[in-house]
Amino acid sequence: MEGLLEEFRSRILERKPLRLKGGGSKDFYGGPLAGAVLEIGGYSGIVGYEPTELVVTARCGTPLAELESALAARRQFLACEPPGFGAGTVGGVVAAGLSGPRRATAGSLRDFVLGVKIMDGEGRVLKFGGEVIKNVAGFDVSRLMTGSLGTLGLILEVSLKVMPLPLGDATLRFELPQDKALDAMNRWAGQPLPLAASCWQDGVLTLRLSGAQAAVTAARGKLGGDVFAATEAGAFWQSLREQTAEYFAGDAPLWRLSVPSVAPPLELPGAPLIEWGGALRWLRTDADVEQMRQTAARAGGHATLFRGGDKTGGVFAPLQPALMEVHRRLKQSFDPYGVFNSGRMYSEF
């Protein structure tokens, strides 16, 4: 592994643009791919896993699937359910910063990142955060790295908080139109119910409950709905997380609109798929970039051209100039020679 680190360092010290590549599962995501490929998948393996500490530390190239099966063997899991999109690796998952169906209640991937080890733009290995839940020493660079799309450094190693698998689990279905489903999801979220995930599509609201067996049973009695068989339900939530569900198939541009959960149905062409209690709305549409961005902004959120489509208008919503300036300076500080994934987030850096 030391040999690999030396290889990474010597490539970085060439000061030429690099494209960091783990499993290559998210090549579709973010701005245009540029730079010579630096394969980091070989830097792999679980470095430490202590179930009683609720923390796992793994190298960047570790396949997400390998990490998750190690956790499952001890009845634990990543509660934020980050998507692996097939061959996804731990480093890529953290760089992308995406979370899955349980995000609205369990928290986002960044909430579970406890520490990182990175190699910066000058080939130096730096450690931030650690393996403990409470840690306020120094700026929270670990979480700055999460979702930075590899533009600030090569994430070498990550420590993640893990959670016990819930004992009780049930999935319910309700026939509801979109506005009523949004109302119901927001109302239920304000009550002490063991909500875990939600999905609305084509007039059907699917709701996942997880927690103590007694709590799940009581909530089922309270909420009603039709019970969705356990094995089918598991496959359903997995297909949402990994975007293998029918909704995500085909070439039409896929937009991701992140909005306040209480935002009313968005006035946009196409049939949405809604997750996260109303806070995440997917849309397959050829609608114009400006229309998407403005509609999301009016609702209090932002729109991302998640997959496909015309990326010339930028993939992510533009930043206000003062924040863009902070971004540029952060990039300059961690990666002064512009080595890492330039243009993958914004064309400006």
Binding site: F139, G147, N186, A214, L323, S333
Partner: protein
């Protein structure tokens, strides 16, 4: 205006600032009662909750509006004068210690709750709003704000954002970081920005996460949106006694290993229990070497199920005695002792010094045994309370500031605990922040390149280094001077300097 560049290497000098011009400018920008200058008015701001460090500030600005915050920041920047933000002043790391050449910017007058939305489950508040006031405002809706630092009756949400404050329920409900959706803030340029929003994520880097816990070094918070969560309708707590601290530490690990995430999991050692018992009469087992408080919350069915599982695990882990609270009054009584640890320390000792390291849970017993040895080494008593569930410990070192040498021995005792925390795989501060107090200990935890990276983050927001200088992140000169540079890969900063 003198253009200075914030540097990782050595502290800045603000000596050439024209203060009479700055004070005149501030007097034009603020109402008369929002600018304090005379000694008797500014003296109360000389320290925060950690009164061992004091410095009378040059002036204190107390803006009432965001526009006034912008004006104060612009005036200070134009004059090249440092700004020290301050919330309620309850912090325990001297993070709000005034700068001798600077202005204290108190957000205490901005204390309005702007909006509580029962459907979206958020509250929009000004930075000076007290932590507990948010939960009180949300209580009629069946909601509350989860992080509950022990100072919650007084501490402000702006200060909580600056420190990433925790509390006793962090393992299950998270820290400030996990419960804040959006921060509106003013940059040193006077520009107003928003980190995060009312959706669940925002485009670009996660500057919200970076700002939370930044100890006032990056931006001045003017508005915060917090998440409100449904109040659990039921809670019960178990008190378990253990004959030795190692067994108690193992029991904590066993609870987690059983797949249980308690709402609270606290440990007190025998001296701590003995100190609080006369004070609150909670009925603690004073013969035990350590006691654990283990809480479950949720629906009545959920709590009954979880308490049963917790009890079984604790018994199997060697608990010598177990009591389960049978009423809400009894639950509060059981907690009262734990929450009274600080005042009890104040009752049995003229002074005490509270530490805040975090270590992996499995090292709790080991750390306690080491602290017992240090008590002999430094000839000082220490009582120990731990947020055992998340490994965050608060040893209270008892001393008498009037006895020559005791404060110095106390500081050395504390620094040794922090060094051991780092060696055991933990951190020098779990929730109180680095501030001025632990700035030298940062050199134990981070190497020179990491400290340079922190200064790079600082410069990205505040290139001139005017916001809360000389706090949280040490200069490399300071690390070298204190002789505590964490040597990483043989890389020693200032190799030309002589070592202590």
């Amino acid at each position: 205006m003198t253009q200075r560049e914030h540097s990782a290497e050595a502290a800045q000098d603000f000596a050439d600032t024209d203060y009479s011009a700055l004070l005149a400018a501030l007097a034009r920008l603020l109402p008369a009662d929002s600018l304090l200058q005379v000694n008797e008015d500014v003296k109360p701001y000389e320290c925060d909750g950690l009164s061992a460090y004091r410095q009378v500030p040059m002036a204190v600005a107390l803006p009432e509006t965001e526009a006034q915050v912008v004006a104060v920041i612009k005036a200070c920047r134009a004059a090249g004068a440092p700004l020290v933000p301050r919330g309620a002043g309850t912090g325990l790391s001297a993070g709000a210690l005034p700068h001798p050449q600077g202005v204290v910017l108190s957000l205490a007058k901005m204390k309005r709750i702007l909006h509580v939305d029962p459907v979206a489950r958020v509250a929009v508040v000004q930075p000076g709003v007290r932590n507990l006031a948010i939960s009180e405002a949300a209580a009629p809706l069946g909601l509350y704000y989860a992080p509950d630092p022990s100072s919650q009756i007084a501490c402000s949400i702006g200060g909580n954002v600056a420190e990433n404050s925790g509390g006793v329920h962090c393992l299950k409900y998270g820290l400030t970081l996990h419960n804040v959706l959006r921060v509106r803030a003013v940059l040193i340029t006077g520009e107003i920005v928003e980190f995060g929003n009312h959706a669940l994520d925002a485009p670009g880097y996660d500057l919200l996460a970076l700002t939370i816990g930044s100890e006032g070094l990056l931006a001045i918070v003017t508005e915060v949106t917090v998440k409100l969560v449904p109040k659990p309708d039921h809670a019960q707590v178990i008190i378990a006694s253990f004959a030795d601290v190692m067994t108690a530490g193992d029991a904590v690990a066993a609870v987690i290993a059983a797949g249980i995430i308690p709402a609270g999991l606290e440990m007190m050692d025998k001296p701590a229990a003995a100190a609080v018992e006369p004070y609150v009469k909670a009925g603690y087992d004073l013969t035990a070497a350590a006691i654990l408080l283990c809480e479950s919350d949720g629906t009545a069915e959920e709590v009954a199920e979880e308490i049963g599982r917790m009890q079984a695990v604790l018994e199997a882990s060697g608990a010598t005695k177990i009591r389960v609270s049978q009423s809400e009054a009894e639950r509060l009584l059981f907690w009262a002792g734990r929450k009274a640890a600080f005042p009890a320390a104040g009752r049995i000792s003229p002074d005490y010094y509270c530490m805040d390291g975090t270590i992996p849970r499995k090292r709790l017993g080991e750390m306690l045994m080491a602290i017992y040895d240090m008590e002999k080494k430094y000839r000082l008593r220490c009582i120990n309370v731990f947020h055992a569930g998340d490994g965050n410990m608060h040893p209270l070192i008892l001393y008498d500031a009037n006895v020559p040498g005791e404060l110095e021995r106390t500081e050395a005792f504390g620094a040794e605990i922090l060094r051991l925390s780092v060696q055991l795989g933990g951190t020098i501060t779990g929730e109180h922040g680095v501030g001025y107090e632990k700035i030298n200990s940062m050199c134990d935890q981070f190497c020179a390149d990491e400290i340079r990276a922190f200064h790079g983050v600082k410069r990205a927001f505040d290139p001139e280094g005017l916001l809360n200088p000389e706090k949280a992140i040490p200069t490399l000169y300071r690390c070298a001077e204190s002789g505590r540079m964490h040597v990483h890969g043989g890389d020693i900063p200032f190799p030309e300097l002589e070592r202590l």
